[in-house]
């Protein structure tokens, strides 16, 4: 690790000010992504602002029946919170599918949102990478790209966002509250992470000096029919090759509201509301699920090593929809369907 200075922020305003006034500064939450990247010298901050003392470790009920989760609540605490487990079980399930118990005890809600890609070349400063060093090229295109994107990639970058939690939040349609030098603002979840385009160095739409304060979830009808299905190289402690978060509202075997978010396939959790809308009112059967999968993946493109993800994603979508509509959720411990 390169030397850096260290300060502990005591208020959100102080953290924002420190972050906005020093382009070399970064925020430290759980550290499970940042410290790792600093050891590889992928991240080389001149100053670390430790935000762990900020009063952002809360889970509050909202008057409308929703919930507000502070940026410093650990992934473990969210997943095991009784309100989250009963009202947003999809979120709990997705979190428990990720990382390890130790990592989830340290990782925070804000850090999970802002964590960076696991692209091998991004992690290796000896190789070209437009995300790490804009303009240097992309070693994954034409290189080893088994874990890379099949949707929404660009000629500059084919990396994927690695989070499980975010795939569930995309399906549930969370809102992200951020505070910056200009004050507070809300960002819709679908507008938070970006596609790479020609600016792959930008993972998300946070502006300079902005800090995630909390996420909000509205009340919903998805506590019965949902599932988080994660496919990976080993059953635990591995990032998703493909994951699917499904949330469904059913009425007389018809889809009233169906949401399908995909992980491991794009630079952001992938959701297509237009495709989802086409299936409103349709009978929830395998034929419909297959069609939905086909429609969602119609723009999919492989890069050699990751071609397998296209049929894998299609099958995963169908299986996740079957599980969700039959109310049999994915057991993240036994890896079986209950």
């Amino acid at each position: 690790m390169r030397p850096f200075s260290y300060t502990r922020a005591q208020t959100v305003q102080a953290a924002v000010q420190a972050l906005a006034s020093d382009p070399q500064a970064v925020l430290l939450a759980g550290g499970t992504n940042l410290i790792d990247l600093m050891k590889y010298e992928v991240e080389r901050p001149g100053a670390i602002i430790d935000i762990n003392r900020l009063p952002l470790n809360f889970i509050d009920d909202l008057p409308d029946g929703g919930i507000r989760i502070g940026a410093l609540v650990t992934n473990s605490s969210v997943a095991h919170d009784e309100r989250v487990r009963t009202r947003y079980p999809l979120l709990a399930s997705a979190i428990l599918a990720g990382a390890s118990p130790q990592l989830r005890n340290a990782a925070t809600t804000g850090g999970n949102l802002v964590q960076r890609t696991r692209c091998y070349y991004f992690y290796d400063p000896a190789t070209p990478c437009n995300k790490r060093q804009p303009g240097s090229g992309c070693a994954a295109i034409g290189g080893v790209n088994r874990i890379h994107a099949i949707l929404g990639a660009s000629d500059s970058c084919i990396a994927v966002h690695p989070s499980d939690m975010c795939v569930a939040l995309a399906a549930l349609g969370a809102t992200i509250e951020v505070e910056g030098p200009a004050g507070r603002r809300d960002i819709a979840f679908s507008d938070f992470h970006r596609l790479p385009g020609d600016r792959p160095e930008l993972d998300n739409t946070l502006q300079s000096g902005e800090l995630v304060v909390a996420i909000r979830l509205e009340p919903n009808h998805f506590a019965v029919h949902h599932t988080y299905l994660k496919l990976r190289d080993r059953l635990s402690y591995a990032f998703a090759l493909v994951s699917v978060a499904v949330a469904v509202e059913l009425s007389n075997d018809r889809l009233v509201d169906v949401r399908v978010a995909l992980g491991g396939v794009a630079h952001k959790p992938w959701r297509d509301r237009l495709v989802e809308a086409e299936f409103a009112g349709v009978v929830a059967d395998e034929e419909a699920f297959q069609k939905l999968a086909e429609r969602l993946l119609s723009g999919a493109k492989g890069h050699g090593g990751n071609h397998f993800k296209i049929p894998l994603a299609a099958k995963a979508i169908v299986r996740a929809l079957k599980q969700a509509t039959s109310g049999r959720l994915q057991d993240q411990a036994a890896k079986s369907v209950q």
């Binding site: 690790m1 850096f4 095991h80 390890s100 118990p101 340290a106 059953l235 036994a334």
Partner: protein, 173 residues
């Protein structure tokens, strides 16, 4: 105490914590991880460095009773914390029940992963979320064992859990 390579441009940070019941106040460079502090200046080499990147669990310790990876924590960020390492759990004369169970069940071969496995297992028991053997395997998945002692590790944990949760919790404190 001066820990880490010298760099006079960056001020040392005064940090206080309790490690295995003993109070420490240290002047630390901010880039020293908890793992390097333990194994280096504090000579508590029971906690192991496997990968140094959060991928193996060998560095698992308990912070305020919760298991975490010491390789991904800056020591300075733990000001005020209570840290327990394998050295703080028991002594050869009076082993922690989890240590005893690991011996009885032959739950290690080379032993490199063992301090992390034991700290993790104690964290697991106090979390109180195990309902099945599958839960033990899943909730211990953050600790890799190159020798493949997994079956016996799960046996040892199951045995300890059968002995009663409260007893374990008290022993961990």
């Amino acid at each position: 105490m001066d820990i880490g390579s010298r760099n006079d441009a960056v001020p040392l940070c005064s940090t206080a914590f309790v490690i295995n019941g003993q109070q420490f106040t240290l002047e630390l460079h901010p880039w020293v991880t908890l793992l390097d502090l333990l194994r280096g200046a504090l000579e508590l080499s029971g906690t192991k460095k496997g990968c140094d990147h959060g991928q193996c669990g060998a560095c698992t310790v308990l912070i305020d009773g919760e298991r975490i990876n010491a390789c991904l924590k800056l020591a300075v960020s733990l000001d005020g914390a209570r840290i327990t390492t394998i050295e703080g759990l028991g002594s050869p004369e009076s082993l922690h029940p989890m240590q005893k169970a690991f011996i009885e069940h032959d739950a290690f071969q080379c032993g490199y992963c063992t301090p992390g496995q034991i700290c993790s297992a104690i964290g697991l028991v106090s979390e109180g979320r195990v309902h099945s053997r599958a839960d033990i395997r899943e909730l211990m998945s953050g600790n890799l064992c190159r020798c493949g002692a997994y079956t016996n590790i799960a046996d040892a944990i199951e045995d300890v859990m059968g002995q009663g949760r409260n007893q374990i919790r008290e022993a961990a404190e």
